[in-house]
Amino acid sequence: MGLNRREFVKLCSGTVAGLGISQVFNPKVIQAMEEGAKKAPVIWLQGQGCTGCSVSLLNSVHPKIKDVLLKVISLEYHPTVMASEGDMALEHMYEVAEKFQGKFFLLIEGAIPTKADGRYCVVGEKDGHEITMKDLALELGKKSLATVAVGTCAAYGGIPAGEGNLTGATGVKDFFAANGLADKLVVNVPGCPPHPDWMIGTLLAAWQYALGKGPLPELDSDGRPTLFFGENIHENCPFLDKFDNDELADTFMDKDKCRYQIGCKGPNAYADCYKRRWNGGVNWCIENAVCIGCVEPGFPDDMSPFYEEG
């Protein structure tokens, strides 16, 4: 498709003036993606999650979600959107995994509970036996080309793995490593939920890689694409000069000052929310309230209390 990595990075991360991965999706690129989708379909599993990542994906603006669903990715299994259910849905999933062995992308949303033999999350039934998220993630993980852990639960365990959890909830990479799949490629796209651009942008990079047309996206030490998670929010925050001048808000109603004192975790968070913003760019967490560091491996425990400085 003639898009080299540099161009790709530029288009994905955009500039403050012209944001988004929108430019990437000109008709030519969509055509190439369609081709890629046929060769590398997506199977999307849900573990211990809230479906918020899936709902966030639906908020994609550029490309429009209808293009994502109809043209960009071949979403062969997704519990919240697929038409089929029960046996038929599962059989189809197994067929696709078999047919595209070593070629399909496994997307996992939600944490994987490991205690009680995985019975805290049952995702289906086959021949009268329950299929746990734990077993299915391993089985498909083995067969996939790569796994994308979508959202902080899948990436690092998230809230289901927070202090007090009883289910042995864990993120995909750790779970794979503990079960003999340490070598499997896992890309983390954290966020509670992740921005639609982060999910689609990462998949796009993954297609390029799968089609032999691009390198592996560069990942940071927490397994996240640096493309989206390479910069610190605080260092780039519009309120940074207020912070430096000690102009700190002490109530939510004070909109002209830095939010550090009322709990902002921007200094500990790495993501491009400060320029990408959310929901078609209408707002974002810090303009509204505070950042709670939802993209970080330590979320929620290390970010809590959310409304206290520190």
């Binding site: 379909p41 849900q46 211990q48 479906t51 918020g52 899936s54 709902v55 966030s56 639906l58 908020n59 429009k64 209808k66 071949s74 979403l75 299994y77 997704h78 519990p79 919240t80 959107v81 697929m82 038409a83 089929s84 259910e85 029960g86 038929m88 849905a89 009680a116 805290y120 999350c121 995702v123 039934e125 009268g128 809230i159 289901p160 927070g162 202090e163 007090g164 289910t167 939920p193 109530t251 939510f252 109603m253 909109k255 959310w278 929901n279 209408v282 707002n283 974002w284 967490c285 509204n288 309230a289 505070v290 709670i292 939802c294 929620p300 809590s304 209390p305 959310f306 409304y307 206290e308």
Partner: protein, 498 residues
Amino acid sequence: MSGCKPSKAPVAGVSSKKIKIAVDPVTRIEGHLKVEVEVKDGKVVEAKCVGGMYRGFENILVGRDPRDASQLTQRICGVCPTAHATASVLALDDAFGVKVPTNGRIARNLILGANYLQSHILHFYHLAALDYVKGPDAAPFIPRYDNPDLLTDRIKDAKKAAAVNQYGLDQYLKALEIRRICHEMVALLGGRMPHVQGMVAGGTTEAPSKEKIAKYYARFKEVIAFVKDEYLPLIYTLGTVYPDLFETGAGYKNCVSWGVFPLSDTDPLDLLLKRGAYIDGKDVEVDPAKIKEYVGHSWFNQSKSGLNFAEGETVPNVDKAGAYSFIKSPRYADKACEAGPLARMWVTNPELSEVGQKMLKEKYGINAKKVRDLGDKAFSIMGRHVARAEETLYVANAIAGWLKQIVPGESTYMEYEVPESGEGLGMTEAPRGALLHYVDVKDQKISNYQIISATIWNANPMDDMGQRGPIEECLVGIPVPDPKNPVNVGRLIRAFDP
């Protein structure tokens, strides 16, 4: 679609033997659900609803700063985070003894209201509609049942069927955009969606600027037009192709509604959608002490089954004999009750929309002014879709009013101190039904937090007295002429939006 002749669902393989069917996973819902039914003579005779996932928010919340609860509990559901945020902040307001300013009350209504629109539209078009409309022949729209009983199967004139189906499909795609716009409305006042940062104890975090209110309004106009001109007419028209689904899935006809959208600063029960219960054909006032949770068939240990939330315990036990679900069985006055748009609309009984009144008369010959004029038809698969669509417009009309009341730039938040100890109850309504959060604070930390969410009311297992959960009860009797294609099972479950 009008004027087309409905035909009966394709019939194949009706058997007088009992046949067991398990649908697992039930898809196009939020979360993990399995349903097991026994079919005899083409009808369901026994049903079990199995909630297959446990996370344990109650346990994860213990020991934390109580203010964190509104952020953490939102993550119970990515479709209705604003509802959990609302229940949580109501419980915290109560525990902290903080009074939300008028502007904060209205801002909260605008945040939650916008997500009502989002959630109902998402539910009908993207979760339920594929039970009726045929998607394109590509993933994720295939595979589908061999006998799916779609519009295209029911409408005999092939050309007309194709046109009607295409209309439905275009709407499915358009609704994707509309629901995204609803999320932008939430985000304008709440920060971002899913999971708003802006809903906190004491009010909301942003006194909305003129500009933000104008942006909200611009989006709102587009959404309400869609609801009025497309969503509502489509639902009523769909009912003409599926008249049998107005007669299917009655259940107990018991309803609970905790009520939602406060209209007054002084009277907590002055609500847009009323608080009330409807039990055994009678309206009764809600007394929270009458809410109990049974765990006889749930994978939980409890010192005693049938505890009120204030004594609530949530201790999982996957090996418990006789248990089959991670969902507890809440009961109101020991009765199994359904929750959701139908329950709310039945309890509140507002006037139906103009579109509704007109179409009911023209297409069904029903003279209905108010929701209850629908009579028994309301307690059905189609009736629940009608209630949801009617409620969408009802809430949208209220939003138009709140937009006039909100004062740009005026504080939406009241400062407070977290007390040493306190107890709080937050009762509200998620789009999918009655939602309750209970918090107990000791030493400025959460010592107990209990949640009874909407799906818990609807999709629960049999209780200790042997009463089925509401969805289980509704399933009994629904037609499944072809056990290989149990279309109506999924339809019934999805009509609840679990």
